[in-house]
Symmetry: C3
Subunit: 134 residues, 3 copies
């Protein structure tokens, strides 16, 4: 069992940030051969998505898709914080993923990377809690 927090600074309102290397490092240090790792972002306007990282095209497509499905400025919550779309995107994507640990490494396939999805940035600090269990 190991638990650590990754801190990420974001720079745009909507942005995908690859955190695979940071999670890899924690899984390595955990010295657990077989199990799962849970990656969970705190804050109700961000999410975690497993996605391809061949280039940045899929990341931009994710933002385009979500902005089309969940447009800004048309929600009841906009009367409070003007970020109803951010909450809805975060709710649909979800705050976390569990990934198997196989032979001491994450069981991601070649093109699967872990992305922090920022939907209400920029933010100085997004806290991502990584828990490795075996």
């Amino acid at each position: 069992m190991m638990q650590q927090v990754i801190k990420i600074t974001t720079h745009k309102r909507n942005e995908l940030v690859d955190i695979t290397q940071e999670v890899n490092k924690i899984v390595s240090e955990a010295n657990i051969e077989t199990g799962i790792v849970n990656v969970y972002v705190q804050g109700a306007t961000a999410g975690i998505m497993i996605q391809e990282n061949w280039d940045e095209s899929v990341q931009r497509d994710v933002i385009s898709l979500l902005s089309k499905l969940i447009p800004a400025g048309v929600w009841e919550h906009d009367a409070q914080d003007d970020n109803g779309d951010s909450h809805l995107k975060a709710g649909i994507v979800g705050p976390g993923e569990c990934i198997p640990v196989i032979n001491g490494k994450m069981g991601l396939s070649t093109w699967q990377n872990i992305f922090l999805c920022e939907f209400d940035g920029p933010r100085n600090t997004r806290n991502i809690v990584v828990t490795v269990m075996g």
Copy 2:
């Protein structure tokens, strides 16, 4: 390790019910310092979503969004049960979330609460299985 079932009554066809306090109670009783808690709803027409709970606006926006993206009455399954939209909403939201346990408490941020999403209510009983592992 602790596992308990939360039983919730729902009152509308589409409704978000905050179950954070019920899950908090189980995590407290589990006496686990570090780990994860899995929250899972049984039934193929409900889901679990982490979402803001400042007021009820985001909860209503979630229902509006899903009803816009997944309209009622236009699905092949409606010929059986007339609830094709309920199944599709449940599939997209998903039946469960894993949340880290940090220092004996759930690692939710200030505005993150856990919601049962009812998509085919009202129902006398929705069973939510809570499993705390450390």
Copy 3:
């Protein structure tokens, strides 16, 4: 703790394949009374969804819905692989689910089954990693 890989062949570009029996078998062999099972598909163009299995209507409705929300052929990534829609569907559905283990069996309700969602088939082999923890 038990970890095994299920190998599935898919036959269509978009297809839902019921893998509940295969996961049940692994959970039985794990001899774990209480805990969770994580079901995770490798590959950035597939997902795991819990969904009804009364007949195949909901499975076809899932494919119709996702094709309507995420049309093919209109994404930046299509310039690379012509499968931008496959990645986006996989990202929204997500690669995994955690299901509680109760009295040695999966805590699925009557109509909840586990489906591999193929979004870029046919494929000779989709690897699904099943990890049972108690």
